[in-house]
Symmetry: C2
Subunit: 466 residues, 2 copies
């Protein structure tokens, strides 16, 4: 690309406070000051944003931080110390007991049988799975769904490894929808397989990429049903196994995993707070989750949400915009395999009879912002949507009804609105829950623009309420 002869950007409102004033004037619920203040927030983020360097520290110094691990505890201390240095009104921990599952050293699967003998499949244990207690060697039966499994005669399943191989639907524009629809295999595959006498489950990784990374993620057992091991196969591995099965229905797979669940461990949510200047008792929460899966650094999932939430407080302070309502950044513990932190936060809020106005969550990666989804009654959704014109110049003006988030979910009924921060989602599931979710996948500007978009909406909420 060379220099455009007629600069497209000069025709757009972006970055022009004067034009933003006109935009603001279109909305009855805001005044001209708001667009100027929002511009201040974005300027601060783009010129001096701290999210990226904070994320470098969290991912580089601590890395993966599964609930119960020493790294999760280091992350708690890091979050507390980092927020203490920010000069907030209050920084504190909320104690919470969390599950403690460990992967262990052994994790492999090999094909046996006439075809494909000795081929190693790229696997990882699903979070929460029991280990294999030595090795399991069994024939494999491939299905596309829980429904297909349920329709099979029991003798076709008994003693086998059930291989769930339905891909995420590539046709959806919104990747999260495809993730949600394919996820029942990972979540319930092992339990459904065990009900029919299977000895384990192999699940195609939830990914839209074709590569060798197995994607972990949580799975559930059912009371009264045998607990059998469950592993994820990389998408390439799943395709290969499916091909091999076409050539040899009787091939076997040997699976060995040494994962196990240890006793629960004490851990913490980390909370930082700026007291509201006018309505200190009305609380706005903004958060991400501090725990991550263990395979990599938990950069996009969800280091980015943590550093953005902390950055919201810093941006408000640095821009001289003391919020009229109390704003809390919360680094939730244990989103990935329990939501214990999210539950504890709502429980303590209820017990203390706190008044929660709104809660926002960032847990979809640190990509270029697009907007927000609002989980609230229709009138409240419309109130938030009136602010859209203020976000359009920043590419974040897509405000729709929709899901808030997992960690803020338990606040439903306590807070007037649960708000999901949304960003570009095309790349997210390529790396989600894999060894590839690393700091180098995060772009500084995309990350900082996200924090600014979140701060801008928090600023409006703190000023106008709902």
């Amino acid at each position: 690309m060379r220099f455009p002869s007629l600069c497209r950007s000069l025709l757009l409102a972006a970055a022009l406070p004067a034009t933003s004033l006109t935009v603001a004037a279109q909305s009855a619920r805001v005044n001209a000051t708001d667009s100027v203040n929002i511009r201040k927030i974005y300027d601060e983020a783009l010129a001096r944003g701290q999210s990226y360097e904070n994320l470098r520290e969290l991912t580089g110094r601590i890395g993966g931080r599964l609930s119960g691990s020493p790294q999760a505890e280091q992350a708690v201390q890091w979050g507390k110390t980092t927020m203490e240095k920010m000069g907030l009104d209050r920084v504190y921990l909320q104690e919470v007991m969390v599950p403690h599952w460990v992967r262990g050293a052994k994790e492999k699967a090999q094909v046996r049988g006439a075809k494909g003998k000795g081929i190693s499949l790229n696997v990882c244990a699903l979070g929460g799975s029991v280990g294999t207690n030595g090795k399991i060697k069994a024939q494999v039966i491939e299905v596309q769904s829980l429904q297909e499994l349920a329709a099979l005669p029991a003798d076709k399943v008994k003693g086998k490894l059930v291989f769930f191989n339905r891909p995420m639907n590539p046709l959806y524009i919104e990747t999260g929808r495809a993730y949600g629809e394919a996820g029942d295999q990972r979540r319930s595959g092992a339990a459904e397989a065990a009900k029919r006498g299977a000895v384990g489950a192999l699940v195609r990784s939830l990914s839209l990429a074709h590569d060798d990374f197995p994607h972990t993620g949580t799975m559930r057992y059912e009371d009264g049903v045998a607990q059998v091991p469950a592993a994820a196969l990389s998408t390439n591995g799943a395709d290969e196994l499916s091909q091999l099965l076409k050539a040899d229905k009787n091939l076997t797979v040997e699976l060995e995993m040494s994962c196990q669940t240890l006793p629960e461990v004490k851990s913490y949510n980390v909370v930082g707070e700026i007291k509201g200047s006018k309505y200190p008792d009305e609380i706005i929460t903004v958060g991400g989750h501090l725990d991550s899966w263990d395979l990599a650094q938990g950069a996009h999932d969800d280091g980015t949400g943590c550093v953005q939430s902390m950055e919201v407080l810093r941006l408000l302070k640095a821009s001289g915009l003391r919020p009229e309502r109390t704003v809390r950044a919360v680094l939730f513990m244990n989103e990935e395999n329990g939501t214990r932190g999210g539950n504890k936060y709502a429980e303590l809020a209820k017990a203390a009879q706190e008044k929660h106005l709104a809660a926002m969550e960032s847990d979809g990666g640190g990509f270029t912002p697009r907007g927000f989804s609002i989980e609230a009654d229709p009138a409240t959704v419309r109130k938030v949507q009136q602010w859209e014109p203020l976000f359009v110049p920043y590419g974040s003006g897509d405000i729709t009804p929709g899901h808030g988030g997992t960690d803020i979910g338990p606040l439903k009924g306590q807070a007037k609105a649960l708000i999901g921060y949304n960003c570009d989602d095309q790349r997210y599931f390529d790396i989600h829950h894999t060894a590839a979710d690393t700091f180098d996948k995060v772009n500084r500007r995309e990350l900082e623009l996200g924090g600014a978009s979140m701060a801008a909406l928090i600023y409006l909420l703190s000023k106008y309420g709902l």
Copy 2:
């Protein structure tokens, strides 16, 4: 991230033909068939898109392909062969003479003097620069702009290397605007420095990242002004040199570059065509540029634009949507340092008295689509904007007046509308014109969604005209 309890996506129109019909009904200029046909195009792209594999071949097998190089000629043959395999109505070459500048083997800069002695700066020659003919060793004078240089007394500049160090403005949301504004240093720095007796120019790389990659790009000499060498410094290198100069104004930099301009070479635009079923004489062009800078693979600049333009033809064919007007994919030669291909295309079109309806260009990278900028009279812009609702479900509905593109620019006055395809631009300038513009920076879905967005608008143009 885990599974949302209430799936946000279910509330959105994306991927639901039934909903798209409603969307289409809002627009007077389209009928319900259009949204179904556009859905077909996106489905084809997401399920069986070929852009990504074509790009893998172009970047991996051929790599960087500066005008006049053997690789550029390989790329011409590759483009022709690839389009011939697509079963188009016509594939042909348009001969054009292009500049032939070569970097040569030597390219280095070292700091001399009391402070920083022996420090190597990461540099690369700017495209078109003369070499140093041995080594140049000179004191350095730092300026922030051409204006600052012009205001300096001549004796402050004479015999020195002028160091242009104004960064791209990080506060603009649209990165292309910052690129455009900072670009005069790269484009005219050497000529302006030479007018005041300088022996060369060092230019801060046009980048929003802080790293060690020098960014090349074209520069111009002026008739009657001495031709002095011009090199780009990485942003980290520029910051370092600026610091060193604060400590020692008299330090010198030793620059050695063996680049040179060779005689012009015969090259080609590559053109593939589907004849219009109703109005074969009305032509719609869609293109990217086949040449790239030599430092890397030219993946985002502009391999992506080339494979997307070819993909537009394939998507129309594979979706069974024979265009009513003629659609041409053009792989332009020599966008980077001459626009000879773009000029030749318009010249031949004029000579043949062709009737050009519209021309579209993709030269901003292969990132997630956002929309289009339309360079046309206001009434024509509004006509295109009426189709916005059809693009909103795909996140590509941002249709604004603005710049079309460099290669289609010469068609101004011949075509009714010049259309720039726009995608997310936050990451583009981090890698633009550097050794880091490689295939691994391109995401398959982002790239294929771009080609689908382009094909959808070409489909509408071919059906309705302007």
